[in-house]
């Protein structure tokens, strides 16, 4: 990547520098409106409708901005150097996403190995056991000494790993295979196979999200496991929730890519959009494996 002779000027034509653009300012207004809407909702100044204006402008921005880029790309305005910039940009964006999940994984590990045992009186924190919470039995999963739970007796159960989560693991891993088959088909010029396997990938993605929603309903209704169920509920729902959000976004992106392949976009040699989404998909896949092992299994 970091070769000493970055041929930014050398290959086919100049580096494309767009002259002016209205999309970023629309995006900034959208984000501001959206955030103000969420603030209004949280502070009970307004109802749930407050989300709508910002989200609508944001969606408009995405259509417009990506539409412009796709159009310029189809007109051949991007040389290989621009392509390489997009690739590096996407890689570092995914890296930043990994670090976002790292914060929540860090919270999980900290709670499991440090804060819960400390509350239970481990080591020098023995006075916690003697004076503060003599009843508290520090183990994992834990909802803390206050036994926060929707149930009267303060109990809750966890989702067993080798039920729905294992099936979801299989679904995501399969989708990782199908997108690779689709990529090979694209490179081989086999458009029919590309379309089928890409469709299979995003359908598996949406199936995953659907099953995850089922699991959430089960947890809320029958397991006593909710967002407010102490530190276990917090880490469980924040980790799986942000992951589910990313799967949803990834599946939407895959759908867009599928619509583009149906329109005949992408060539066997130039298909950055496809690859970027495939990278993103593998990223949500790997995060899920971490979740399956550390949240559900051990």
């Amino acid at each position: 990547m970091a070769t000493s002779h970055a041929p930014s000027h050398a290959d086919n034509g100049k580096y494309y520098v767009p002259h002016d653009t209205q999309w970023p300012i629309i995006g900034s207004v959208a984000l501001f409106t959206l955030m103000l809407g969420v603030v209004s909702y949280l502070n009970e100044w307004a109802g749930g409708w407050a989300f709508i204006p910002g989200a609508a402008i944001l969606a408009f921005m995405f259509f417009g901005w990506f539409g412009t880029v796709i159009d310029e790309n189809e007109r051949g305005m991007y040389n290989l150097a621009v392509d390489r910039s997009f690739r590096m940009g996407m890689i570092w964006f995914i890296f930043s996403e990994i670090m976002f999940f790292a914060a929540f994984f860090g919270a999980l590990f900290y709670a499991r190995t440090l804060s819960v045992p400390w509350i239970g009186g481990e080591g020098v924190k023995v006075f916690n056991k003697i004076f503060l919470w003599p009843e508290f039995n520090a183990g994992w999963p834990s909802n803390g000494p206050a036994q926060l739970s929707p149930r009267e007796n303060g109990s809750f159960e966890v989702i067993p790993a080798f039920g729905l989560p294992a099936i979801n693991t299989l679904i995501l891993l399969t989708s990782g295979v199908t997108i690779t088959i689709a990529h090979h088909a694209l490179k081989a010029g086999n458009r029919a196979m590309l379309n089928v396997f890409l469709a299979a990938t995003f359908l598996l993605g949406f199936l995953f999200v659907g099953l995850q929603a089922t699991e959430y309903m089960e947890a809320y209704q029958h397991y006593g496991l909710q967002l407010g169920t102490g530190i276990y509920g917090s880490t469980f729902f924040m980790l799986t929730g942000f992951h589910g959000l990313h799967v949803t976004i990834g599946a939407i992106m895959l759908t867009v890519i599928w619509l583009r392949t149906m329109k005949g976009h992408f060539t066997p040699t130039r298909h950055f959009g496809f690859e970027a989404v495939a990278w993103y998909w593998h990223f949500v896949d790997v995060v899920w494996l971490g979740l399956f092992v550390f949240v559900y299994w051990i």
């Binding site: 970055a6 002016d20 919270a107 804060s115």
Partner: protein
């Protein structure tokens, strides 16, 4: 239409004029200017808050503001200065100078570049309108520690979303910096020929992209703890308020190097120029910067020695913190060795760079004192800490920004600034900054706690001195925008190489730099001439 296609590549087009030019621009120089103007505005907004703080602390007792508003002042002053003044100034300088210095036609992702700037004014609007909602602006300190910050009023979600937006802006900005440096260098501009400003910015960019998302995660947990009943930071549910401090400082410590590494880069450009000598130990400077960046990830808990931590943890974080003195010492040594037997002249950028060298080192030494666990038990949350980080941030980062602005202003405007006024600005700043912050060491060692609006009478004398220094420093900064405005309007015409001893590709283009530069990559000879570090 064939012409339409060609128009996209046309570099001699008429840019949109008026306000729309600035709103829609994708030009790295325009966006750099926007960032720098925004930074200056936030510098004076944050500075005004500092004046309120120092006015209240001028003498013991309550004078002007109520304690809650005072706490909002310290909180928002810090957020405005860190995320609004210093970081955008660095991104602005990066935008202006990196493409010029590596021979690139623009930043790699120009539309995203515009986006990363224009998010910022909205982010700070969101933060600052917090003053006008029930409960007032956030008052729990810029570190946003729970449970205190969770007791804030309606401005809490505003501050959290403002931090999210600043983070999004930073992440997009640094993706652009990384991709530009990795992909847009002119052929022949090898990594070890890059100017140190480019190198330190590259390292800064890696730090930012690794830690900004962690801050986003931390403040998201605050939001859900407050509004959605999670227990991340509540012991009742099995969480721990100290966990926030760990996650926050995993961001926060690399963040302080994000604020200072580009300063190292600028000083490493300016000292060789005005010593008329190549930088001593160029490669050592690169490796020292990278070492500092690496170490910055494994020292975070030195901000929280007093919260109660296993002894092994205290030892580890104390020793890893002290290790940072080694690469920093390499840097200070190399700057001194560059000066050694140089043919020195003392124009304003050089004066600021030399003040940086002395005063940043001073701040570094008080940092070493703070790294010692038993000593830190005494210093923690006193004015000694305030003195320490203001020494590294004001005569450190801010002086380096000012040095960079004076150094490159002839390239931006095509005029030399008023050297006499520049020297006045320097001497007033350098004297008052010490009157302002040096007595705070004494106050801290005597036990005055930080973040309080009133204090015991034995602290009165030095507080008055410090406040007088603050008013002097604040007033002298008004010279800065005047000097810049005067330089934009006119002055002696600047040659392409505005400083006799300057090297680097930015001095190979005319002054003022044309709207588009390095459309054709510089030749090998030009690069070799520029790379005489």
């Amino acid at each position: 239409m064939a012409h339409e296609h060609a128009a996209a590549h046309d570099d001699h087009h008429q840019a949109p004029t008026g306000l729309m030019r600035w709103i829609k621009t994708t030009n790295h120089k325009d966006i750099g200017t926007l960032y720098l103007i925004f930074s200056a505005v936030m510098f004076f907004v944050g500075g005004a808050m500092a004046m309120v703080i120092r006015a209240e602390l001028f003498k013991p007792g309550m004078q002007f503001v109520d304690p809650s508003f005072f706490n909002s002042m310290t909180t928002v002053h810090a957020l405005a200065m860190i995320f609004g003044a210093v970081m955008p100034a660095w991104v602005g300088l990066a935008n202006w100078m990196i493409p010029l210095q590596i021979g690139a036609p623009d930043m790699a992702l120009p539309r995203m570049n515009n986006f990363s700037f224009w998010i910022l004014p909205f982010a700070f609007t969101l933060l600052l309108i917090g003053f006008f909602v029930p409960g007032g602006a956030p008052a729990g300190g810029w570190t946003l520690y729970p449970p205190l910050v969770l007791q804030g009023g309606d401005s809490l979600p505003m501050a959290i979303f403002a931090v999210h937006l600043m983070g999004a802006s930073s992440i997009m900005g640094v993706i652009n910096v990384i991709v530009t440096i990795m992909n847009m260098r002119a052929p022949g501009m090898t990594l070890l020929r890059m100017p140190l400003f480019v190198w330190t910015w590259l390292i800064t960019a890696y730090l930012l992209i690794a830690v900004m998302p962690v801050l986003a995660g931390a403040v998201t947990m605050l939001l859900t703890d407050h509004f959605f009943g999670t227990s991340f930071f509540s012991a009742a549910g099995g969480g721990d308020p100290v966990m926030f401090q760990h996650i926050f400082w995993f961001f926060g410590h690399p963040e302080v190097y994000i604020l200072i590494l580009p300063a190292f880069g600028i000083v490493s450009e300016i000292i060789p120029t005005f010593s008329r000598k190549p930088l001593f130990g160029y490669e050592a400077m690169v490796y020292a910067s990278a070492s500092i960046a690496f170490l910055s990830f494994i020292v975070w808990a030195h901000h929280m020695f007093t919260v109660g931590m296993p002894l092994a943890g205290q030892m580890f974080f104390m020793l890893s913190t002290m290790l940072i003195a080694i690469p920093t010492g390499v840097k200070v040594f190399n700057w001194c060795a560059t000066l050694w037997r140089g043919s020195l002249t003392f124009e304003t950028p050089m004066l600021f760079a030399l003040a940086f060298l002395f005063l940043f080192t001073c701040g570094g030494f008080s940092g070493l004192m703070l790294a010692i666990v038993p000593a830190d038990f005494q210093y923690h949350d006193t004015y000694f800490v305030v003195a320490h980080f203001h020494y590294v941030l004001v005569p450190g980062a801010v002086f380096a920004i000012m040095a960079g602005v004076y150094y490159w202003m002839p390239k931006w405007t095509g005029h030399m600034y008023d050297e006499k006024l520049g020297k006045w600005h320097f001497w007033l700043s350098a004297i008052f900054v010490n009157v302002l912050f040096f007595p705070q060491h004494f106050l801290g060692l005597a036990g005055m706690p930080r973040r309080i609006p009133d204090y015991s009478t034995q602290f009165a004398d030095w507080n008055m001195v410090s406040s007088l220094g603050a008013f002097g420093f604040g007033l002298s900064q008004l010279l800065f925008p005047y000097i810049i405005w005067k330089c934009v309007k006119g002055g002696a015409p600047a040659p392409a190489r505005a400083w006799e001893g300057a090297h680097g590709l930015e001095w190979e283009v005319p002054s003022p730099a044309p709207h588009h530069t390095w459309d054709e990559a510089p030749s090998m000879a030009v690069i070799a001439r520029g790379a005489e570090h």
